[in-house]
Amino acid sequence: MSAALKVVRAGLFDTLQDLGRTGFMALGMPTAGAMDRIGLSLANALVGNPTNSAGIEIGVMGPDLLVDADSVRVALTGPLSPSLIEGPDAPPKPLETDRSHLLKRGQVLRVGMIDGSSTAYLAVAGGFAVSPFMGSLSTYSRAGIGGFEGRKLAAGDALPLARAAAPGGDERKLAQPFDYGSGPVRVVWGPQEEYFSAEGRQTFVSQEYRVSKEADRMGIRFEGPVIVHATSVQKGGADIISDGIGPGAIQVPGAGLPIVLLADRQTVGGYPKIATVASVDLPRLGRMLPGHAVRFAPVTVEEAEALRRDQEARLLRAIAGFVTARPPGGIDLVRLYEENLIDGVVY
């Protein structure tokens, strides 16, 4: 018996992603991986998976997925407009985010639009039965590598599930929405801050920058005040001998506007990098949409490390603090609805 999620209608840019294909940058291989590691980790944890399992990263608008398995447990994370679950012979019901749900054969999950973020995640209990490439299921679509046939999902795809049926157990729910933080995006200076004038560095950390339309999995181009290089661009002030580009590196080419490089970034580059986003704030950038405004605030390496450890501790506490999605009194109304036992009473 096959076990798959069938794409009935494709979203805009849905790809399989785990936490990235690390270890091969020296061969020119971008890491790819989830733009929002927290969203993917929470979705996985809600269905009982290790946090680094591959899930579907939903870009802007989600797909419609038909359950072609006895049952499957799913969880959606991210600010989605209501997603719906439709049975073959039942009216559509909303499907809450940040909790797990048991879906049955023949049901269709209509993932909603994302509202105020560029990414959301869908995880399935047991994960997808897709072979990893170089140790990872992350899709790097520019080179057609990894994930499901190296590309975004298309109508007609059947994503094979590792489990033919969902494991038993209660549904789980995130007790309260995870706090991604607000305020300025924290950055560490360098590695090439000396390529910018004191005035240019001051502009970068004191002015507001806006996400332009050129924002995708590779990176975000920002619009805002021009950052002045120390040496004129004509004299090569915006050129360096290419070096490695880490996650969150902020390149400033000759035009003086910052580009933050994210999951699908190239491995090396020849523009000077004024600063690097502290890893604690990469998930926030991974959710940003054109028009979002940010300020950048410098922190030390030690502060950046401490912020990241604190965020990880909060993530682990959020996972340890999942509540059973069952009302007091012991009757699991949600499950009853899903089993279609009392639909007639409720509706």
């Binding site: 690390t22 270890g23 091969f24 940058m25 020296a26 061969l27 020119g28 291989m29 971008p30 490439f133 170089m134 790097y140 520019r142 080179a143 590598i145 590695p191 360096i240 001998i241 290419s242 070096d243 490695g244 580009i245 880490g246 996650p247 190239q266 491995t267 090396v268 890893s279 390496v301 030690e302 950046a304 490390e305 990241r308 450890r309 990880e312």
Partner: protein
Amino acid sequence: MALHTAIGRARSDGKLAGVVETVPTMRSLMVTYDPLATSRAELQPKVAALVAQGPAAGLKSRKLTVPCCYDDPEFAPDLAEVAERTKKTPEQVIAAHLASPFKVYVLGFMPGLAYVAGLEPSLFLPRRTQPRVRVPRSSVAIAMDMTTIYPFESPGGWHLIGRTPLWMFDQRREQPVFLAPGDSLSFQRVDRKTYDRIVRDVEAGSFDWATLVKSK
């Protein structure tokens, strides 16, 4: 490069826990670490100690021979122009490319794309002013003091002077990327017939890549 290798060895010996990966380039070595597993303060002295050690003894580099067909005008659309601008005949351009002692310095930009330095100085030219929108996979190109081989069909601004039947990136292989930083390589001229034969084997996945490695 030596440091990249030294860190790689230290990691496989279980030292340097928390290092995620390293990226060698011509100017620097980027070390990525997991702040949940270590810190810069903890790693810096360990990496500094490896720097102080100098190049690891017995650092081995491969010597590779890469077949290249220069004869088909479709493979070498820029050969005539390169010849004109360097005041050579096309045959002299090919001879200079074949004689260049190449070394792989960096891979990057896209998976398997190698920046290979060592081009014979009389062939130095800047990149094309107008990059091509589409450069065929496995095109052999030159620009500045380097040569490269395109792993995928992609845009590109280098001068195309030949094509290799090899794929620089093949995800069916256990080591999908053929070239590695530190490799020495030289090109070997092949005619169109030989090119076609090797392409068939490469496409079928039956090509014996070990025949390209002269020594270890």
